[in-house]
């Protein structure tokens, strides 16, 4: 009989409204990824005088032999693990503090989101200066406290440099986690805590049995976002150490960038992009699984 003309009209208008956004998203996200998959099957570098030559999977084969690739993977993993780990601990702590009521809470909250809003590249400059081996304030404080006798070359030592960039990243992105967790904390009804206290629970027990399970969806989301961002970290390290010293802080992103922009090895760069992409999607899929579960659980407790 008569089709539902209202729904039909709505759909037509709907697609008209969605389409421009969708096209831009496809152009900026889908095309580059698809292009990388395609280009990774070709050799296109200075050796081929920048013309494309089909080589099948040889770029991937080369990757297995590429020690620098594995080193950057390792660096990326170390950076991601430690920065996300400390950000989470600190972020949760800050969120718990900001969830208390005290005078001037509004101002403190403003201050607490400041690091997140500032440009990473500029913040990296600030941290480079802070960790400066001659005039840096870190060395100055440690010297004044008598903890060291001579200035430490923070960004010149492989281990310390990694520590320094992780520290800077923790500073920059802890606010992101604490904002998300704070929103989660505020959505937990005070009644639950009161009921729990009447049941005789200590604050620590309440934290374990109410706060953490109900906060779990926000925790998983925050960790997921942070994982993806940390795994693709570029600007902070590019400005602070440029990947040095001796490649000690070179992450996959930096390696991809120099493969393409410095060595002009487009085919291999594309293969690196593909592998990074696939790894990321894998982790996201796993995280999404846990997210669904934790959401279901939190709802169940509610």
């Amino acid at each position: 009989m008569t089709k539902d003309i209202i729904v039909q009209r709505e759909r037509r208008v709907g697609w008209l409204l969605v389409l421009p956004a969708l096209l831009l998203l496809l152009g900026v996200f889908a095309y580059p990824i698809g292009q990388a998959f395609w280009q990774s099957l070709f050799n296109q570098n200075l050796g081929t005088q920048l013309t494309s030559e089909f080589t099948g999977l040889s770029n991937y084969a080369r990757m297995t032999q590429d020690g620098r690739f594995w080193q950057t993977m390792w660096n990326t993993s170390v950076f991601t693990f430690f920065s996300v780990f400390f950000e989470f601990l600190l972020g949760l702590g800050v969120a718990l503090v900001l969830n208390q009521s005290f005078r001037g809470r509004g101002i403190v909250r403003t201050v607490a989101i400041l690091p997140w809003a500032l440009p990473t590249a500029l913040i990296a400059l600030a941290w480079t200066w802070i960790f400066n081996d001659q005039y840096g304030i870190v060395n100055d404080i440690l010297l004044r406290l008598g903890l060291i006798q001579t200035g430490i070359n923070w960004l010149g030592n492989p281990t310390l440099a990694m520590g320094a960039v992780i520290f800077a990243d923790v500073w920059k992105t802890t606010p992101f986690i604490s904002i998300l967790l704070l929103a989660g904390l505020q959505s937990i009804s005070e009644d639950l805590y009161e009921a729990h206290r009447i049941d005789g629970a200590s604050p620590w027990q309440s934290f374990r049995q109410i706060t953490l399970p109900l906060l779990m969806p926000q925790i998983v989301i925050a960790l997921l976002f942070r994982f993806a961002q940390a795994f693709g970290i570029f600007d902070l390290i590019a400005v602070m150490t440029g990947g040095g010293p001796g490649g000690a802080t070179e992450t996959v992103s930096l390696y991809i960038y120099s493969t393409v922009m410095r060595y002009l090895d487009f085919g291999y760069g594309a293969a690196l992009v593909v592998v990074t992409f696939v790894l990321l999607i894998l982790v996201v899929a796993i995280a999404a699984f846990f997210l669904n579960r934790s959401r279901a659980k939190a709802r169940g407790v509610n």
Partner: protein, 291 residues
């Protein structure tokens, strides 16, 4: 007998309160210090004279202040250009993201589209892509369309990067907007476009402002595309230009001007945060959590 346990519990409680009441202020002070110290140190550095900057031990309370580093920035570099570039690119991409994202969000929230779930899932996943995965393919697009050293090479990707957040935040906003309002407008005699412009849009302005601020911040801060697609000095954005400030030789790093550049480059965002912290928090949480 009866007073004994009471007095014990009282003293326990009072000492507990004292101890606990100290934790919070200390924690608050630590949070504030942690967040502000690096920025303040950079600010202080930017107004110190060179001798104080390179003094060992460090000077925490300089006697002399100077603006020479700021003057140098503008004298030796087109720093006004950097600022204006950043501002133009961020503003234009924000407007584009809102202009494309808000209608899409409305359609996803209200109109019965097929494939709505697929689109939303795609939008969500895309927020997790780091820009490094995109720059190679975009580089090709930029070359093919010869968009190098063209603001469009930044405006379009920035708008795209901000689209997922815009769509998610605006969609959750539209879903909260009572449907009756739009039905009422239809009964009153507005057509779809009229409803959107006269009824929905005025109510949407606060949400648009929220997402717009977030989009502006993201665009202002972007680094890798700006580094790759723009090479002409006068068209660079602040983050890239500041990171490339160098001296006459590697031994002569201009700490003062670098500090001044970071201060100038961060100042607009500090102001945004000061005025709009509520909107920023609201936007971030609704974008990430509701999705």
């Amino acid at each position: 007998m009866t007073t004994f346990p009471e007095s014990v519990s009282k003293s326990q409680r009072s000492s507990g309160i004292n101890w606990r009441s100290l934790i919070l202020p200390i924690a608050v002070i630590l949070v504030v210090l942690f967040c502000l110290a690096p920025v303040l140190w950079q600010l202080l550095t930017s107004v110190k004279v060179n001798q104080d900057i390179s003094a060992v031990p460090s000077v925490y309370f300089p006697r002399r202040f100077t603006l020479e580093h700021y003057q140098q920035l503008f004298a030796r570099r087109p720093f006004w250009n950097y600022l204006l570039n950043s501002f133009f690119v961020a503003a234009a991409s924000t407007l584009l993201a809102l202009g494309l994202g808000a209608p899409a969000a409305y359609a996803l929230a209200r109109l019965r589209l097929q494939g709505e779930r697929v689109i939303l899932a795609g939008v969500l996943i895309v927020t997790l892509f780091p820009p490094i995965l995109l720059f190679l393919g975009l580089l090709r697009v930029v070359q093919v369309l010869s968009l190098g050293d063209n603001y469009l090479a930044l405006v379009l990707p920035y708008a795209a990067i901000n689209l997922p957040l815009t769509i998610l935040v605006m969609r959750s906003f539209f879903e909260q907007l009572p449907r009756d309002l739009e039905d009422s407008a239809k009964v009153d005699g507005y057509n779809t476009v009229g409803t959107l412009l006269n009824i929905v849009l005025p109510l949407t302005l606060p949400a648009l402002a929220t997402t717009g601020i977030l989009a502006f911040i993201t665009a202002w801060n972007e680094f890798i595309f700006a580094l790759t697609f723009i090479t002409r000095e006068s068209m660079k954005t602040v983050p890239v230009a500041a990171s490339q400030l160098g001296g006459a030789s590697i031994f002569e790093i201009p700490y003062g001007p670098i500090a001044a550049a970071t201060v100038l480059g961060t100042l607009p965002l500090v102001l945004l945060v000061l005025f709009f912290q509520r909107q920023i928090i609201q936007g971030l949480t609704s974008g990430a959590v509701k999705g």
